[in-house]
């Protein structure tokens, strides 16, 4: 029981970190970014490169990795997405291309074998028969802090107001003098940085290999469909829902069945409530 509670929370935190950025860039810039999983993977690989190959200490490596991926996201928005913004389909295709490019680049640079990224904490916490690694607890803590900070940033700062304004009425935002392109770049940086942070944090207990972007991408996508595309509260709610459902299924049925949970949730959502739990309207 305690197992489910703790592991479900860790999984939910990781899912929420993946989903909020994905839903944010869609809600603000209407970009369905299928390279979002690549941000996650790139975070993990950058950290591996800096620690494993260049021998950096973990903390600066983790920070540089996250900043690098944020810059990568901004560059992708500026040079690949922005010129194609007139066509939603073209934007979709270019983000898929970036995702595939990530996989191929990692394969060529680092090979297909799984890589190790050091953990911030190698301790194990034992309580009432439950053993959980410090790294997982740290991931949970970081996830809560990051999402809390994001909430404060969006609701309490001038730039956050501009993000909200742009997501609710683009033309209205234009007449307020809000520079849309600059805000899109900021949102892409935030979105990429949070995904990269999730990659850095989970890398020690998950597998770092070239195809590692796919599963997080599917999860982020599933969560925002269930929660409602563009809705941050919706994606957090859906992350908790899926995180716990999967953990319960893993314990009650079998770990082999976990991946089917999010797909069933997506199907049920699309049939019963196409706008998602907290979405305003169907996005497709």
């Amino acid at each position: 029981m305690l197992n489910i509670l703790v592991y479900g929370a860790v999984t939910s935190a990781v899912y929420a970190m993946l989903a909020v950025g994905f839903t944010l860039i869609f809600g603000v810039a209407r970009v369905l970014n299928l390279a979002h999983g690549a941000f996650y993977g790139l975070g993990a690989y950058s950290c591996y490169l800096l620690t494993g190959r260049l021998g950096w200490p973990l903390l600066p490596a983790a920070l540089v990795a996250v900043l690098f991926v944020a810059a990568f996201g901004v560059a992708m928005e500026r040079f690949l997405v922005r010129p194609l913004r007139h066509s939603a389909l073209a934007v979709l295709m270019i983000t898929i291309a970036v995702g595939l490019l990530f996989e191929q680049a990692m394969y060529l640079l680092f090979g297909s074998e799984a890589r190790n990224v050091p953990a911030f904490s190698n301790a194990t916490w034992s309580y009432a028969g439950l053993d959980v690694s410090g790294q997982r607890l740290l991931t949970l803590g970081f996830g809560i802090v990051i999402i809390g900070l994001l909430w404060l940033f969006i609701n309490r700062t001038r730039l956050g107001s501009a993000i909200l304004a742009l997501s609710q009425d683009r033309e209205g935002a234009l007449y307020m003098g809000i520079p849309a392109d600059r805000i899109y770049a900021v949102v892409m940086a935030i979105s990429a940085a949070i995904a990269a942070a999730a990659g850095v944090l989970t890398a020690p207990f998950l597998t770092v290999q070239p195809t590692m972007d796919l599963l997080p991408m599917i999860k982020a996508f599933s969560i925002v469909i269930v929660g409602g595309l563009g809705s941050i509260p919706g994606s957090i709610l859906a992350a908790l829902l899926l995180g716990y459902s999967e953990t319960i299924v893993a314990y009650a049925v079998s770990p082999a069945w976990t991946e089917i949970v999010s797909l069933v949730a997506v199907l049920l959502t699309l049939i019963l409530r196409p706008a998602g739990l907290l979405g305003k309207r169907a996005a497709f």
Binding site: S161, L164, A165, Q168, G172, L174, Y175, M176, G177, I178
Partner: protein, 237 residues
């Protein structure tokens, strides 16, 4: 005539192959309230959007001595043109207060922003009471007040007002036109696009008549009110 604050010359706008504005020229002096009348689809909103640089255009737009032709939309706002668009385009899920604050997005002068918020509240007292409410929960007329107040929060030299009376209860319409008069009296120039010619001519000093993307008549409001064709078609008398 005073030196023009806004000078528009030979403005042409295409939407794809359709010609929306066909060589429009007009001017607004500092502190002047000018109305643009005309039927639906004449190009009135397009004219305001072109001035805001929200749609691309050919021709010349000079504001306060500076050409706007190649300016980014947010710099037009910074130059002193605030646009209260047709359909209001409020931030529906944000509070009334936050909508008004976003009107001052480009400004950093906190004390002056607070004073301007007081002015807006004095102009539309109901907005003070509704401050914490989501914009979407207000009535149409109140939403229009938010839209006008939000545009004023940018401290414009020129306010572009697009159809402020559309779909609004009569009582609120009177309040809104009274407010428009007050805004002009405080020294802000206004370019008012309006289908309700009677209300618009009541507050404007000059007017233009726009039909099929062209200015077909211009003159003082009194002359417009006496004009037979304007009376028949737009005033319904």
């Amino acid at each position: 005539m005073r030196l023009a604050l806004l000078e528009v010359a030979d403005l042409v706008v295409h939407y794809g192959k359709a010609l929306a504005l066909d060589g429009v020229s007009l001017s607004v002096a500092a502190g002047e309230l000018v109305a643009v009348l005309g039927p639906n689809g004449a190009g009135k909103s397009t004219l305001l959007k072109a001035i805001s640089r929200a749609v691309p255009s050919a021709g010349h737009i000079v504001f306060d001595g500076r050409p706007l032709d190649d300016m980014a939309p947010h710099l037009v706002v910074a130059a002193g043109i605030c646009h209260c668009p047709e359909g209001r385009h409020l931030f529906a899920e944000l509070t009334v207060r936050k909508n008004l604050e976003l009107g001052a997005y480009l400004r950093r002068d906190k004390a002056a922003i607070a004073r301007d918020l007081e002015h807006v509240h004095a102009l539309f007292p109901v907005l003070r009471a509704r401050g914490a409410q989501q914009a979407a929960t207000l009535s149409g007329g109140e939403q229009q007040m938010v839209a006008i107040g939000r545009a004023l929060m940018g401290r414009p030299k020129l306010l572009l007002l697009d159809e402020p009376s559309v779909g609004i209860a009569h009582r609120l319409k009177i309040a809104i036109f009274a407010a428009i008069r007050q805004i002009r009296e405080a020294g802000t120039a206004i370019l008012l696009v309006e289908q309700d010619a009677r209300s618009a001519l009541g507050v404007a000093s000059r007017a233009y008549l726009l039909e099929h993307g062209q200015i077909v008549r211009e003159g003082l409001s009194e002359a417009f009110i006496r004009d037979d064709r304007v009376r028949r078609v737009y005033l319904g008398v």
